[in-house]
Assembly symmetry: C2
Homo-oligomer: 331 residues x 2
């Protein structure tokens, strides 16, 4: 027998444990061309909240009473597929089940000699890939430019800033506490940090920290910080619109400064970035991130919770800020 975790209710407002259920069923057997996977590490991420809603979106919503899914690192326990061998480690978008079968499509083999398996859900997973490809595909960051990052102490933001330093850029981060500012400058080696909670003129703070103007703004928060960044941008500046967490909880339609006159004046590009749009670029991204990791050029943090049945609680803890860096469940 084996356990799996289902969505029981679609929560209104904040989710709670009663919205999830743990069930048991027979351990599945792989058919011809299939492999049997045993889950080792499961990623929990804020964006999964969106899929708990019954809304039309580009990622379909979770179905009630069926297993939820996220990025998982399993071991291949049995293989009837010539591309995989027993003992292989892989990563992929998989169900919250202790065991499952797969035809292997969409799975990537991973190498635990490069980094611990859990890293493939963080710095070598969608988190790191988002930072890397956001900067590559939209930011097009060049050596010597000035990079501004919001949500700078977060899982994505902290990698963005470190990549900026690898590319020999001036890197300035925005975050919401002195502790976080200390972390981004001391641990992640950003050049400067701005605590937006202790200034009433974020635009001026950015100007002071970026005397040559901002060339690339990697935005995880949206809202007033985006306005302040745009007002400090150089000609041909680029904004990677990766997240807008400052607006996600507002009930009214949020309003703010009209940005199009500034886009025109400075030939600025703003583009929404969703990492799933770039699936064909994941392998080169992972390769580059692995190389930097081996060279000790990237630092990362993770919070590892133990126990398959702890997945729902770990997910809920994300919204209480109980994690430091990437939140992962070890099965």
């Amino acid at each position: 027998m084996m356990k799996y975790i289902i969505l029981r209710n679609r929560p209104e407002g904040k989710p709670s444990l009663k919205d999830f259920g743990t069930k048991e069923t027979e351990k599945p057997q792989p058919g011809e061309g299939e492999i049997l996977l045993k889950a080792l590490y499961v990623s929990v991420d804020p964006y999964l909240r969106g899929r708990m809603r019954d809304e039309k979106s580009y990622i379909p919503p979770f179905k009630l009473n069926e297993p939820m899914e996220s990025m998982v690192v399993p071991e291949v326990e049995d293989s009837k597929n010539e591309n995989f061998s027993k003992g292989d480690f892989v990563s992929g978008m998989l169900d919250w089940q202790e065991y499952q079968v797969s035809d292997g499509k969409g799975l990537n083999k991973i190498n635990k000699d490069i980094a611990p398996l859990s890293a493939y859900l963080g710095i070598l997973g969608l988190t790191g890939i988002t930072a890397y490809l956001g900067l590559e595909k939209i930011g097009k960051l060049k050596e010597g430019e000035t990079l501004l990052v919001s949500g700078a102490a977060g899982a994505v933001g902290s990698i963005v800033g470190q990549i900026g330093k690898i590319k020999k850029c001036k890197v300035v981060g925005i975050a919401g506490s002195d502790e976080k500012i200390k972390k981004i400058t001391k641990v992640f080696k950003f050049d400067e940090g701005i605590n937006y909670k202790t200034t009433d003129n974020i635009k001026e703070e950015i100007k002071k920290a970026c005397p040559n103007g901002v060339d690339v703004y990697f935005d995880n928060v949206g809202g007033e910080m985006l306005d302040a960044a745009i007002l400090n941008m150089n000609k041909f500046g680029r904004v990677v619109n990766c997240g807008a967490i400052s607006l996600y909880n507002s009930k009214e339609k949020p309003t703010g400064l009209r940005l199009e006159p500034f886009l025109i004046k400075k030939s600025i590009l703003m583009q929404g970035f969703t990492v799933r749009d770039y699936a064909e670029d994941f392998q080169p991204a992972i390769k580059q991130l692995s190389k930097w990791l081996k060279e000790d050029k990237l630092q990362y943090e993770e919070t590892i919770v133990e126990g398959f049945e702890k997945i729902p609680q770990a997910f809920l803890d994300l919204f209480e800020g109980k994690n430091q860096g990437k939140m992962v469940v070890k099965v």
Copy 2:
């Protein structure tokens, strides 16, 4: 003696005649390597409003009490430069003066057998080049897509829509009178037109006119029409931010819907477009536009005002929508 037109005041809000002045001075004489130019046609354009402000920008602001400038088609009246002969027609960024000398740099010779001289300020000038390169470089319009254009009856907008039809796209235009709507659908062959002045729900009108959603929005106006367009865009939609005439004369910093959540949700690109950034692409653009013009695939309109001293009034009339197509002053 000859006349020239200066900027007398920097207007707050809407400019008026008192912000301009007409002066007289000696007719200049060309030195060695120089040519004497006699202005024949002068372009007036909304973007000049921006240069009346004393703001740091990529194009420097006009100086008080000095001649304003724009694209001008002059005749070479005297030449001490081996590259030009008396009787040549050229186009270039030149002062608002009846006569001026030039070293010839930045001037293009033009051929009046291909199109009338005034067309080199419109469809074969920056207007046509803006439409063509905006769609090529930022819009990346593909056959079968849906193209939405604001300021659709204007000089740039009417060319944008016609290029969309040449590229076999569905083309919908937004304009401010039934007469203009009739023109874009009958003369310029847009598929549909929306009169924004007779609807109180522009978003719904766009939805009705674009049942497959909007792939490219060529924006000449900014503001609420931009919001409505974004709300109707498809995944991977592109916005060419070419103008924001609805905001240029506002005194306050204009506000509106925050757009970044929509950019993220649909992976939308917005980019400020200034034709001057693409100077190396002007010649191929003019070549393509001339070809289409000869093949009778492009129609254009112009409003020609006569008299050098009418330049300021012609410029002011742009903001009242008094022009049909490209506004040009015949000296």
